[in-house]
Symmetry: C2
Amino acid sequence: MRTTGTPGPLKRAELASRSGCNIETIRYYEKVGMLPDPPRSAAGYRLYSEHHVARLRFILRARELGFSLEDIRGLLDLVDGGTQTCAEVKARTERHLADVRTRIADLKRIERVLARTARQCSGDAVPECPVLEALAS
Amino acid sequence: MRTTGTPGPLKRAELASRSGCNIETIRYYEKVGMLPDPPRSAAGYRLYSEHHVARLRFILRARELGFSLEDIRGLLDLVDGGTQTCAEVKARTERHLADVRTRIADLKRIERVLARTARQCSGDAVPECPVLEALAS
DNA sequence: GTAGACTCTGTAGTGACTACAGAGTCAAGA
DNA sequence: TCTTGACTCTGTAGTCACTACAGAGTCTAC
């Protein structure tokens, strides 16, 4: 059993535990070209390096921030190309930020409607319900 | 060409335009049991009634409020059963409201990180980028 | 030698649609 | 009557970002 910090190639489960990523998701990211194909052992087992750990963490962090895989692919291209400019990345980030703000505004609108409607509910066991009426009207 | 307000059964495209719902989505809702199967013409064309219009609008309004189809199925069961109590609907609505609030909080956290990171960007055409560094680190 | 834990592959399922192909139907105009 | 074009029918596949599973192979500790 390899312990944390020991160097050498990692197997799928090790990469999963090092990154906190679901083991199947790793294979998925490989399949869709987000993670480079790792070298294989004689038996065909994937052998991941620190490079893969770093890239996977990059992907996961960007996912946490709500970037789509498509967005992340773009960011990775910029990184890989070595030609990325701060301006390009900034533009992408700000586009995404605008998206996030739109979603927040939408959800807040929804929240207001739901809260208002729920407040009108008596909570009694009567068959009339302002929520259903609001939806039906 | 039937004009708005004329009674009589509606075809798929008419129901779509009356409700603002995508025509394929109507068929999907039927398939998954959200909309009752309408009677058919001799040629097999669906013939929708005002009942279908009302139900479809109910579904669309609930979708706008972010209820899942599963949630809506529950609401429709309560409506159809005729046994729904305000208390049940209120509980569902409040569960959903809590969900929405969680999502808002998540997005706000994301927004803060994105905004802070984007601010650090010079926007210049230099290859170093604090956004990418934040993601990679 | 064997048990159990791992890995491999391909495939199918999730939710909520959306799109398309190929066939049939309908109504208006020539 | 015929044709044209717009509609409708069905089944199926694609979308996104995974997740789960089956059946086979491999590795390692005892």
